[in-house]
Subunit: 476 residues, 2 copies
């Protein structure tokens, strides 16, 4: 009947198979508008299937508008259906499997490149067992509301836990209303950029600094004003001359990429500037937990909680794969941030937030940080030893007190012409300060060496490749 075919070996139901075929017959005009169809009984007999299936098929196609049922008369192909143009996309080939295979192979090659990029913690040391236990407990034992949309500002349990944690570890005093949970610090910056988009025209950024932040503010039409970074972080005296309100973005605990720490007199000065110009400081505290000696440096937020927007993330102390971060904002700004959050309507899953709350409460975040600190310390000393042995007085190492990266500065006269991009041919990925700089040409002899996601073996081969590359480059 109409060439309808049934294939009992297919993974598709009989109803689906018949609907698909009848639709095609109608769209192609083989079954004409207004044409009467045989009864379900007759069709079922013909195709040797249960009549129920045929009833289902007719009902389905009637609901979709392909068929019309006229009481006491029968079932007809609907009028109004365009039948002369059959949009054939069944020939579209699902080719991507093979394409992807090639990409995967490329990836393997790519994996062999030792990545000295900063900002990625050791993914292999993620506390899998513990985290999966907390996820499991959360999913199995929480009240059902964790499966709902959840509070757009973040799970209250996590925000409450963070106030205790932040006070204990960083000295921050705030209440849960000041905390906004984000899916990583990138969302934190985006929200901040949006809150002030009609208020400020300028954003003062450290130069050099990470690129994604520049993109966020550029896109929202802020003027980016670079402020040079020296060995003590942002040069606040250069900022002072602007006497202009705006957002001031800085990484006082561990500048990226230089690794500098902003000393107290510069901190006080930048807070004074914020107060007199009615600016806000946006403090990016991405990895200060990993201060390898002593305790983390108290954030700017502690010096003045009404002028500082504190941006943090679990990407470095746990894993970027969690997509979890938070803001601590001044009380005055709570409503503005809430409005922006509601407009964007982007929420973070409550499940992982709740799991994180209990993970922190039970002391596991502290333990993980402790473990990672020890690990990073080992890697850092090993790296520094190797570097000093190979390059001797040709290099200066800076920014090695915190985190998972350091700054390697080569004697400019000898190394200024190195094209760091070509290091990939030697099996290492190196990012030079030039790529992070707004004002170009001043940092050609400086590179970032991230060691967060590299074990000792990788560090060793990586440094060997670096030496080989640098020697070949300066020979030329």
């Amino acid at each position: 009947m109409f060439g309808l075919k049934i294939n009992r070996n297919l993974d598709l139901s009989l109803t689906r198979q018949l609907c698909d075929q009848l639709r095609e017959l109608i769209e192609k005009g083989i079954l004409k508008s207004g044409q009467r169809l045989p009864s379900t009984r007759k069709m079922a007999d013909e195709l040797q299937i249960s009549r129920n299936v045929m009833v289902e098929v007719y009902e389905q196609l009637t609901a979709e508008g392909y068929l019309e049922s006229i009481v006491g008369s029968g079932t007809y192909v609907s009028k109004n259906i365009v039948q002369d143009r059959y949009i054939n996309n069944s020939k579209q080939i699902i080719k991507s499997r093979k394409e992807k295979k090639i990409e995967e192979n490329l990836d393997i090659v790519n994996n062999d490149i030792i990545q000295f990029v900063g900002g990625i913690p050791d993914l292999k040391l993620f506390p899998r067992k513990l985290w999966s236990k907390y996820l499991k407990n959360t999913v199995q034992n929480s009240t059902a509301d964790i499966f709902g949309y959840g509070d757009i500002l973040g799970d209250f349990e996590l925000r409450k836990t963070l106030t205790d944690y932040l006070f204990r570890v960083k000295g921050i005093q705030c209440n849960p209303d000041q905390i906004i949970i984000t899916s990583g610090s990138s969302e934190g910056f985006m929200l901040t950029a949006r809150v002030f988009t009609n208020k400020y025209k300028s954003v003062f950024v450290e130069d050099p600094t990470v690129n994604f932040i520049k993109t966020i503010f550029n896109k929202l039409n802020y003027h980016l004003k670079p402020i040079t970074v020296d060995k003590d972080g942002m040069k606040i005296e250069d900022l002072e001359k602007y006497k202009q309100a705006g957002l001031i973005l800085l990484t006082p605990s561990h500048q990226f990429p230089t690794g500098s720490i902003l000393p107290i007199h510069r901190r006080q000065r930048v807070i004074q500037i914020a107060e007199t110009t009615k600016s806000y400081l946006v403090e990016d505290d991405y990895d200060s937990e990993f201060r390898l000696k002593g305790v983390p440096i108290p954030p700017l937020q502690v010096l003045n909680s009404s002028r500082v927007i504190y941006v943090s993330t679990f990407s470095k102390n746990m894993s970027p794969g969690l997509r979890l971060g938070f803001l601590v904002i001044p009380t005055d700004l709570i409503n503005d941030f809430r409005t922006v959050k509601n407009t964007l309507n982007i929420r973070t899953s409550t499940i992982k937030q709740r799991a994180m709350a209990y993970f922190i409460k039970d002391g596991h975040l502290d333990r993980q940080i402790y473990r990672m600190k020890k690990e990073y310390k080992k890697r850092r000393s090993y790296m520094i030893t190797l570097l000093s042995k190979k390059f001797g007085g040709d290099i200066t190492i800076q920014g090695d007190e915190t985190g998972m990266h350091l700054q390697l500065e080569f004697l400019p006269e000898k190394y200024n012409l190195i094209n760091w991009n070509s290091a990939e041919q030697y099996g290492i990925k190196i990012i030079s300060f030039e790529e992070y700089s707004l004002i170009k040409g001043e940092n050609k002899n400086k590179i970032v060496l991230g060691y967060g996601n590299l074990d000792l073996k990788n560090i060793k081969s990586g440094i060997n490749r670096l030496v080989e590359f640098v020697e070949d480059e300066i020979k030329e």
Copy 2:
């Protein structure tokens, strides 16, 4: 010495306690700039603590810039520190615990209100055991790269799995490159709005429709052009007269809030319009799996994959708390979407994506949908029975073939003046079509009744309250 105190019962390390106190003494000017401090040995003796702790304290405060160490001379309070203004924020009261208690109590009262709002599935029936098992397995057994930032377009494993799933369940043919994973359909709309922000000025929306979508497009300065919805969905003939390129947003499988299904002749017509005006259709397929009879209606995407942006979500068939959704986009638009995704730099956690991939592969999504369909079917019939018994010929029920909500229309002459907002005083939350309408005044007698998150007992008391409320309202 300097009034320094040590409290061994505190949850803070000795180093932290001493650093905090010394910082305060310096900021207050009690310890003056340039003042020489006693040696670590002397301090340690005085405070009866280990000298190592005191060394740590001095090193910490030196790193922060509070102290300076001069070789062969000793440790001094740094110069340049502003000492006349001590920013006192230690008095900031963490009051929120108590405030929150009050809010929580309000919540309990709030919970007693029976929510007839649409769009929320039964959170109590979330497959907790299974989902926690898949999360656990993913976290414990995947390769470490799932803890990294991940592919910004989404985990390849999930995108590949979705191509198979979408073909099997909805007839969609696409390859993984066309799929973009989002954190819910709301992000899907936001990305779409951004991709076309410089290309189109107008967005044609169903009237009535959900409000969050209007907000997204409004915010990006699109002109919202309302197209009336009747019992067959968007009135495509009204759209036709515009002859103008733009985005056309629609919910063809189950319109929200009317519940109508767009029949095939209107589908063909709207696709033709998109082709001739070079517009794109944005198909919101939020709950078509829950077609209570037969199989899901094939999406518009199947009719023309190059003019349709297909927006979907796991919020309805699994849970909003997962924050997981996806887009299927035409091949031509892949680069544009990638650019917007990169600029926004918002990613979805790979962990849950990978877990979802295996959950789908193992057939659990199908099983969950099957289970929920049966449940919703029961609730729907029960609700319809109650409604018919109580209101008889005064009501018409529509849109009851799919999903988790239906449209209840009252005879206009008798019920037109009901103020549905005041239903909360009767313990029910009812949203009328007026709240979803761009053109006001035409839908006062229509309400949405969502039953996704209400069990039979709640439905019964809810309908009783509805009857009581309506009777009191029309008496006045």
